[in-house]
């Protein structure tokens, strides 16, 4: 048992560092620093994706046969840490991390051949169609209806909280194809072209001032049967498979450490009165506590990775623990960063994206975005299975 990289892994890390040093330019880094949201502004994300695509590094988690890197888990972990340390725009969302693994597992050869390359080259951007106005944590109660008419499903209903749907070309959605039996059994997984007639997208600005979420309405929208994933009624199993990717399939250690390092830098700058927050023992204690939280979570990620590499399963309690703790850590960092602002916390810049504003010093810009990052961080404990749902999962395992 050890934490040692192999010689090859060290060389891999150095190669990633070199690549990032050359290709991740200051404009991209600045845009990401000024982005309060979980995912990058799509224009920025696509620019970075295109650069990575030339190197073949868009999808670290995909197998080689589909255009992924085929990296080991350790290499993916190292890549993630290096990208986060360098400050890359976060573009790997629903397309690469959610629909792609579902297509690989449940898609037909035709579906895979058509959709996967379009994800890698940025031609398609996918939105998630799970939640509905009346169905959040109780996802299986969803009502959006799909009625089979010949070779088409006719969709009526509405999906909500669809991230970046206003930029997306397509949506993967859970729809109801049957009302009989258990509510989980009547759910089907389909792919919807968002340019289809009958699709209306309403923006929802979030409390951080950014338009990232949307409500999407379907009014007699036609979807070809060939765009169904799996069998009719199999949607719930597919959804659960996908949620596993949303919950446990990613590393957060890199981004958390990068956020805390940013906060440390911000706190090391003199305030207008000459003080530095980092010299305040209460502030330093909070910062140190959060750093210990990150170390602990990082160890859980590495332990889970070791289990998977040895052919095992990390288990539901560690997975849900990581989901809960990542959200809390991110929220604590954002909250602590905002606490530095003083009266400047009252100022509010409405313009989005923020990187289109004239450039200021890095510290001035960190201060400008800090409130919005804090507001946005509240979503961390809600999406992808709220922390209450995670506690339910843990309690079920404990009390079984």
């Amino acid at each position: 048992m050890d934490l040692l990289m192999t010689e090859e892994e060290v060389r891999f890390r150095d190669a990633v560092r070199t690549f990032l040093g050359i290709h991740l330019d200051d404009d991209l880094k600045r845009a990401e620093r000024l982005n309060p949201s979980f995912l990058a502004d799509p224009d920025i994300g696509l620019k970075w994706q295109a650069k990575l695509n030339e190197q073949g590094w868009v999808a670290p988690s995909w197998p080689k046969q589909y255009g992924g890197t085929g990296w080991t888990l350790a290499e993916r972990y190292i890549f993630d840490q290096e990208c986060e340390r360098a400050g890359e725009p976060h573009f790997r969302g629903a397309s690469i991390k959610m629909i792609a693994p579902v297509l690989m597992r449940y898609g037909t050869d035709e579906q895979k051949a058509f959709y996967l390359p379009r994800i890698l080259n940025g031609e398609d951007l996918w939105a998630q169609g799970y939640s509905e106005p009346g169905s959040g944590s109780d996802l299986a109660s969803l009502k959006t209806k799909a009625v089979l008419e010949g070779d088409y499903y006719v969709i009526n209903g509405s999906k909500i909280w669809s991230t970046l749907a206003h930029h997306a070309t397509r949506m993967f959605a859970l729809v109801r194809t049957a009302d009989t039996g258990k509510k989980q059994e009547g759910i089907t997984f389909i792919l919807i072209d968002l340019k289809s007639p009958g699709v209306t997208i309403r923006p929802i600005r979030s409390i951080c001032g950014t338009h990232e979420f949307n409500q999407v309405f379907f009014d007699d929208v036609k979807v070809s049967v060939s765009d169904r994933i799996g069998e009719e009624g199999e949607g719930w199993d597919i959804a659960k498979y996908l949620l596993e990717f949303e919950r446990g399939g990613a590393f957060a250690g890199g981004v958390l450490r990068a956020m805390l390092t940013r906060l440390h830098r911000l706190a090391s700058e003199p305030l207008p009165d000459g003080r530095k927050m980092i010299d305040d023992p209460l502030f330093a204690a909070r910062l140190a506590e959060i750093a210990t939280d990150i170390d602990a979570n990082d160890m859980l990620e590495l332990a889970a990775m070791s289990k998977v590499q040895a052919g095992g399963n990390p288990g539901s309690v560690p997975s849900s623990t990581m989901k809960i703790e990542r959200s809390r850590i991110r929220q604590s960092i954002a909250e602590l960063a905002a606490s530095i602002l003083g009266p400047d916390a009252l100022r509010w810049e409405e313009r989005r994206p923020l990187h289109e504003l004239p450039e200021e010093s890095e510290i001035a810009e960190e201060r400008k975005v800090a409130s919005a990052i804090y507001f946005n961080s509240r979503s961390q404990s809600i999406f992808g299975g709220s922390n209450e749902i995670q506690l339910e999962i843990i309690a079920k395992t404990l009390l079984r």
Partner: protein, 384 residues
């Protein structure tokens, strides 16, 4: 990078848990705690037979060559069973210092006795004013014609009640050095002290204790090695705390499943289910921290401090919550000395105040991560 236990390590864990479950249940422990010595010679002899006392020492010194991971597994089991015998004090703290700094004859004699179960050394280093500054001691060693005389006071020597040998630190020509002092040395007075967790220590005072030249341990890097030995012990304490936290979670889950109020088991109330899930979250986090401490004891000093003090800070905080919640969820039963809950609670409280407090460790960790290279650095390490 591999964080999976080997088959041998899993066997060791299983055998440690089984031994303590069979031979060290809570009633047996209560009798030991209530006894005059607060120590069971039979259990100690069995630990020797199982090889526990030889575990961390190198094979050339008669040990088993076990590493920090093996020690962590023993410590988790010790935590769950609430063992009061001085395994940590004698084997990990004092024993490892003798191995690092002892002369060949000191190693042969003292480690030989320790491994055989016939000798229990204890480290007498910290003094009233030492706090978390390990270099702040004032005991003195003065050269005489054929040796030294030692004077000073060493309060709260862990494992000191059952010790036959003390490793006493004192300043010789201004430098901190360690001396082997038998418990029956002339001028040495030992006052046993009962501790909050049921274990025994002693307050030691030395007044012109004459020691031969052969009592001095090798090496002038004593303080560096003492700090490293405390870090090894702190990593062990982190694992002990993890063992206790898991035991508290298990006990709380099974109690709330059995205890029926308002016509259903307490475990059926969602308000309580989520509190137990939060305990499980903290147990998981503590396990991650303790593992980092375990894998850091032989790392570079900054990484060692990051791992060890980070774990003591983090585990101090979360273990306190877990213990408080476990008492609360047991209701009045958790308040009684008849249940192990309170004993686990008190041992965690003792751990938070042993070899540095939770706040001390947070401060030490905070100073280390003030260096951005450490703060932003990966947990993965480059091969040597």
């Amino acid at each position: 990078m591999d964080l999976n236990y080997s088959d041998e390590q899993l066997l060791l864990k299983e055998s440690a848990d089984r031994f303590l479950k069979e031979r060290y249940d809570f009633d047996k422990r209560a009798k030991i705690v209530a006894s005059d010595d607060g120590f069971d010679a039979g259990i100690w002899a069995e630990m020797a037979n199982l090889g526990w006392l030889a575990l961390p020492f190198s094979e050339e010194n008669g040990g088993l060559g076990g590493g920090a991971v093996e020690i962590s597994l023993i410590m988790e089991a010790i935590g769950r069973a609430l063992v009061v015998e001085p395994y940590l004090a004698s084997v990990i703290l004092a024993g490892s210092l003798i191995e690092k700094l002892g002369t060949e004859s000191q190693k042969a004699e003292i480690l030989g006795g320790l491994i055989a179960g016939t000798s229990r050394p204890a480290l007498a280093h910290a003094e009233k004013q030492t706090g978390f500054d390990l270099g702040n001691i004032s005991a003195t060693a003065v050269r005489t014609g054929d040796g030294y005389t030692l004077s000073g006071g060493k309060p709260l020597v862990l494992g000191g009640a059952a010790a036959d040998i003390f490793l006493v630190s004192a300043k010789l020509d201004g430098n901190i050095r360690l001396f082997v002092v038998p418990a029956d040395a002339v001028g040495l007075a030992r006052k046993p002290a009962k501790l909050v967790d049921g274990s025994r220590a002693c307050d030691l005072s030395l007044y012109n204790v004459p020691m031969p030249a052969s009592a001095l341990l090798d090496g002038d890097n004593t303080l560096v090695e003492v700090e490293a030995a405390y870090d090894r012990s702190n990593a062990a304490l982190a694992s002990e705390a993890v063992g206790i936290m898991d035991a508290l979670l298990d006990a709380t889950v099974s109690y709330t499943k059995e205890r029926v109020q308002f016509g259903k088991p307490l475990a059926a109330f969602q308000a309580l289910q989520h509190r137990m899930a939060e305990i499980a979250v903290k147990c998981q986090e503590a396990r991650g921290s303790a593992l980092l401490a375990t894998l850091s004891v032989d790392a570079l000093r900054s990484m060692r401090i990051r791992g060890v003090s980070g774990a003591r800070a983090k585990i101090g905080k979360v273990s306190r919550v877990v213990a408080q919640e476990a008492i609360q969820l047991h209701g009045a039963m958790g308040f009684s000395e008849e249940m192990p809950i309170g004993a686990w609670f008190r041992r965690l409280y003792a751990i938070e105040n042993t070899f540095g407090t939770t706040a001390d460790h947070l401060k030490r960790y905070g100073e280390i991560i003030h260096d951005p290279a450490v703060l932003s650095g990966s947990l993965l390490r480059e091969p040597a």
